[in-house]
Symmetry: C2
Subunit: 277 residues, 2 copies
């Protein structure tokens, strides 16, 4: 029964988008395989998860959801998730259009009378003073992505990390040229040619666009690592507007320590403001 309900939800999404990324039975088998591992948190990012996923999440860990609009927040809380991640448009990867500064209080207000679900703020958060800012607005914490891409432990190449240091926030563009859906990523001749060239056929719908982009961009990375300058120009990856705040490559431990001290400094800054009066 649960499986059937899940199937319906997934099918609705597929027919809306005229896409067939995978069939619901395969999706369920992937979930079952995942939950054989010690998962403590499972987060769904594109739409309300099928009831089977929420049930499995509750049994093995915590079901969470990333949302980009107040309407999504309401739907996810009604569906039963236990953590909401309110992700602003400045985020890397798939994102909506509402900025973190507005989305966090808007999501908090929208779910207030439904159920007491903690809301994590996401989108643009690269340091502890931004974390303090989000928690001042009532977020229970933050969810971060791009900040880890500029660490020595990340999956990114050294070339991409160098490009992160050089980039400003306006170099993180929300385009369809990697997955077929609007996703924020580093501007490069790849994103520009697909999005703005008059000769571009336009991005293909998800999941077809990934079939075009992923292999090509892997070759680009290999050629760039081999010293090809034109390939270096083409290198791109998912990243949020927070890329404009990256000044150097740190260790993941260093990022955590910096977040802690920046958070404390921000709270001290707030208290000093009141002391002045």
């Amino acid at each position: 029964m649960l499986e059937n309900a899940g199937v319906q939800v997934i099918e609705t999404e597929i027919s809306d988008e005229r896409q067939q990324p995978f069939d619901p039975e395969t999706a369920l088998r992937v979930l079952e395989a995942a939950f054989e591992h010690p998962i403590k948190l499972i987060a769904n990012a594109l739409g309300v998860p099928p009831p089977a996923m929420i049930e499995m999440g509750k049994k093995h860990g915590v079901p969470a959801a990333l949302v980009g609009a107040k309407e999504h927040a309401i739907r996810q809380v009604n569906a039963g998730v236990d953590i909401l991640v309110a992700q602003g448009t400045e985020a890397g990867g798939h994102c909506g259009e509402v900025a973190t500064m507005v989305l966090v209080p808007e999501a908090l207000a929208a779910i207030k009378n439904i159920r007491d679900v903690p809301v994590l703020a996401a989108g643009g958060i690269m340091n502890g003073s931004q974390m303090a800012a989000c928690m001042a607005m009532g977020a229970a914490g933050v969810w971060t992505g791009s900040v880890w891409l500029a660490t020595t432990e990340s999956e990114t190449s050294e070339i991409f990390r160098q490009k992160m240091i050089e980039a400003s926030s306006r170099d993180a563009v929300r385009v369809r040229s990697r997955t077929g859906k609007p996703a924020r990523q580093l501007r490069s001749p790849w994103t520009e040619s697909w999005e703005r060239s008059p000769e571009s056929p336009g991005a293909l719908p998800m999941p077809l666009m990934s079939l075009v982009s992923e292999n090509a961009l892997r070759s680009v990375e290999r050629a760039a690592a081999g010293g090809n300058d034109k390939a270096r120009d083409l290198v791109t990856y998912f990243v949020g507007q927070g890329v404009g705040l990256v000044e150097n490559v740190r260790s993941a431990t260093g990022v955590v320590q910096d977040f802690k001290s920046e958070f404390l400094e921000a709270v001290e800054r707030m208290n000093a403001l009141l002391d002045d009066e």
Copy 2:
């Protein structure tokens, strides 16, 4: 000399945009007339002001500038402004693409080594906890717009204020259909027809679009006030994503009092987080 330098700056902008909004001499006369009044602050929003304006600002009050990107912040501080307003994409009216959460720390970092200029945060800020959030990130204060449009003292009509209460953040769209440049405003059949209808000729460049839109939208307001339902649908005005946080119409005094208590609550929330540990 100053006037000549000013003329050059304005002419550059005009030839870039192929527009002729007014001639530099008229602009200077308008400034002179403005400064016969007791102006304490003059803020420039679209590009670096001519030196004459900054000089007059320094003589009579404080020259400020609204900026939407780190590059603009650097240019304005080098030009001599004494207050920077870092305005995120969530703001109403003309705005850029970088969100407030990222733009504030990015602008602060960019001007740190140039000159010590206070930065006000703008874009999406509708309450005191958001103000606390921005100041936790190092802003010297906030610059607010949309929150005042839902007050009894504002220039908006009662119909528009009611639409503000009904709107979510996603109803504040960044489109060219009022001024010719991207400006955030309330979605209505007016914005949708100009931007998305296949029959739309597209928005005219600034300042021509205002000649089309302003008179028409004034007629729309009059017809809506007279009870015309289709005119009510068309009613639109500049407003930021913060419109999604408007729950009721207040007095301006009420807004100020609410900001103060929300700010204090936010600081107390921060301190309580540390006490828990």
